[in-house]
Symmetry: C2
């Protein structure tokens, strides 16, 4: 544990017991650790890639049963071709507002070969894999708070299906009551870009309506302090493929003559961003809305975890230095998420590759439009002399243009949103979270691109993101994990929010 | 068949019967097509990646038996840790010179998943896969000359073990005699950079000595005309890995702050070459020896296949245009042979990659030193602000430098060589080849980087490259193949050379 962490954990512990529902959750959890983890592991054992329809259905059915077990009548709400949203509701007599708790049960695509243990066979390790954590048996009762559960979606985002269900159990065991109407909405294709969520909500406005949607997703602050984010980055993802010779060619016989698509891709990508991190696509930053004074203050007050993070991540420099991470999250980004051409390593051979591909995700901030941002990137590629197609180019297309790029904008882009921190309900949420979890980091924007925009547009509601997972949960990559203490903290947090 | 091809094939057919040994080979082959292909297929069925020692030994033993069957006592010549060179010898009474025929029996590394049929289960197709060729049974006697054998090393370079053995059979069946002493040297690690060949030859100078080494390797001209090349490009291969965060990070939460190694690699690679194809590494072109007048004339006389090749390869432009391929082979090149970072396609996820790798092969021409060229590339990387290591960098190395690059120069680099076309023996070889194969394309340099330099240095001999395979044989990549007519032509060609 680093120095910063130590200070914050002590601060956090001192505050943790003010909220009665959080207190009840704390007590109840201590008596039911194994049962909670058993139920969580059963949920994590069901493969949940959004395209795997049969298993997605199994997940939805399992979560429906979790609700049913708690006396809530589940609904699987869908449209043709979509994965169902699992819905549940608690009507509270006399309540004057409705709070909706959102989480998603699908997970990022993966390559099982990269995982230390299979992604859908959850295991407990005594500490993180990076600290050489070993697989240990589940204890009968008390879990080491530093132990971690390894499985796809342990952190992102079956976590919050579990924290909400366990929080409900705890509240009821303590005889506490909800004050607001409560709804649950568990999505099954967030990692596929929530491409159907807007239509599902549109078709069921009444059912899903609420005064506030809590987006229970994402990691807490790197200092391990609780985090509330009042918005999220938008996203658009663009795949670019460039073409060399029809077939891979011997690089000795054709090198210098046949165009190399890997080099062309390098030149194209390098034209998009300078070495300090500034994006060179024309008009990329146009329309970005500046932060309000409250938001600027929140960013300035956020703990500076950069130095510790650099040590943790073995970094000798950062992009856009000297600006800090908490600040840079409010600036749009252009990221190469993957790049491939021919083979490297032991399988490499002396060829001119036939194609080269890069997948680029652009994270947007308020004021940018996802479709327009994708169009600006395409215009940039065009300005570099490329003939643009959205399909595998035909031989004729390849032969009749000096440079051809296949550019595919992935479905499921959305815009960034920000809810004002100054609203009365925002202030009430901050107080509630702090009463359960102590000193809290407030940020205008989470780095993750949750479908806040889609939800706000469909329902005219507001959204605030409440994360639970550890920051080093390897979400979106292999060996995803959840630190047990984060699971416990999340239950206390959700108990407080469910009773506000 | 394109227009150019048509013209050249007619020309070729008209010349083909002048050489008595070639005539004998033609006749003999027509009666033994199936037997030749059966023996070839048996040879191709033995996996032959240089690192697969057990199978390399099986190849060597099989080739030794092929020699033995022809009354030649084989020797497996090696040094500790090396793959054996299979040696054989025909002593000709009264001969005043020795001709050495070199081929290699190892093949390029591969990924079997990329192959239409398994690389070591040879099949015959009625035409090329690109023309939707289908697997057909082996005919009992007459093969369609346009049919092709698909297997690793069908074209590169078990081909010439087979053409030489079949040519020997044909000469003997016709009662023809060799005039020179003949030696065979079949190498087992050419595709691994011939890293031990120099030491093996050094330790066995007498055994391998000869007046001329024929490097029987590589493809014929793209017009299908016979090709003689009087030298070969040198090569050095350099693998570069750049580093981002220790683990892949969520690109929403860290994009703009954590350095992206894929973008850094794109920027680094783009700094090595401009968009017209000129290499920007300092001193890269220093010391290049210009072509002689004869060589320049040969290049100018070489048929221009560029336009047909562009059509065949679906190219809308070429690098270094308007210069031609035959010209550009005499210029050094820098080629990205493979590039990888994180994942693309269905497995892509929204991460900042942890590493990015490119493998670069540089093809050298006479006057350049392979080790010095690699040093110049490393100096270039250094000049871009990178701290260079030759191993996986430690966390401390990564944290104490803003930019770290692992740069590994592969073993087995060698320099380019060129034998003068004006030597009497060069002229005699040209006459012999033309008497067997008709109009012949002469080039100062083959694109392939055969170990001519290693052989010349170890033995003080001369080398000339005599290719056999079709130009579109997919050598070095998946679905490697040999067009049957090229096998037949090669047998006639080798018969002529064996009897000169």
């Amino acid at each position: 544990m680093n120095r910063l962490l130590g200070v914050f954990l002590i601060a956090s512990a001192a505050f943790a017991q003010e909220n009665p529902a959080a207190q009840a959750a704390h007590k109840w959890r201590k008596q039911h650790e194994r049962a909670i983890v058993d139920e969580f592991i059963a949920l994590l054992s069901i493969p949940n890639i959004a395209t795997d329809r049969a298993n997605i259905q199994r997940n939805a059915d399992f979560i429906a049963k979790m609700l049913e077990k708690r006396g809530i009548t589940p609904k699987l709400v869908s449209i043709p071709g979509a994965n169902p949203v699992v819905f549940g509701e608690i009507r509270t007599p006399g309540a004057t507002r409705t709070l909706v708790f959102y989480a998603h049960y699908d997970g990022q695509p993966l390559d099982p070969k990269e995982w230390a243990t299979p992604p859908f066979s959850p295991v407990l390790r005594d500490k993180s894999l990076e600290k050489d954590g070993r697989v240990i048996p589940l204890p009968a009762s008390q879990f080491d708070p530093e132990s971690r559960i390894y499985a796809r979606s342990a952190g992102d985002d079956k976590t919050n299906v579990m924290t909400l269900m366990a929080a409900l159990d705890a509240i009821r065991a303590a005889g506490l009551k909800t004050k607001s109407n409560i709804k649950f909405a568990f999505e099954g294709e967030e990692e596929a870009g929530s491409i159907n969520l807007g239509s599902i909500l549109d078709a069921n406005k009444q059912l899903f309506s609420g005064d506030m949607w809590f987006i229970c997703d994402g990691p807490v602050h790197q200092t391990r302090q609780q985090l509330i984010t009042f918005g999220a980055r938008g996203i658009t993802t663009v795949d670019v493929t460039l073409y060399g010779p029809r077939r891979e060619l011997h690089s000795g016989h054709y090198g210098n003559w046949a165009p190399n698509p890997a080099m062309a891709l390098a030149q194209l990508l390098a034209s998009m961003k300078d070495e300090s991190g500034h994006i060179l696509v024309d008009h990329f930053y146009d329309g970005v809305e500046p932060l309000s004074d409250t938001e600027k203050r929140a960013v300035a007050n956020a703990p500076d975890a950069d130095r510790d993070l650099m040590r943790e991540l073995w970094l000798g420099s950062t992009e856009n230095a000297p600006r800090h991470l908490a600040d840079l999250i409010n600036v749009p980004s252009l990221n190469i998420r993957g790049m491939a051409s021919s083979r490297t390593g032991a399988g490499a051979s002396n060829v001119i590759p036939s194609t080269a591909t890069a997948s680029i995700d652009m994270r947007l901030v308020k004021g940018m439009d996802h479709a327009e941002t994708a169009r600006r990137l395409i215009a940039h590629i065009k300005s570099r002399g490329y003939f643009i197609v959205d399909h595998d180019p035909s031989p004729e297309e390849r032969m009749s243009h000096p440079k051809v790029a296949k550019v595919v904008v992935e479905e499921g882009g959305y815009n960034a949103v920000r809810t004002s921190m100054d609203l009365p309900i925002s202030q009430e949420i901050i107080r509630t979270v702090e009463s359960a979890r102590g000193k809290t980091v407030l940020l205008p924007t989470t780095g993750g691109s949750a479908p806040l925009d889609v939800i706000e547009k469909a329902l005219g509601t507001r959204t605030i993101a409440i994360p639970t997972a550890n920051h080093d949960d390897n979400q979106h990559t292999f060996n995803e994990n959840l630190r047990i203490q984060n699971l416990w903290d999340g239950i206390e947090l959700m108990a407080a929010l469910l009773t506000m």
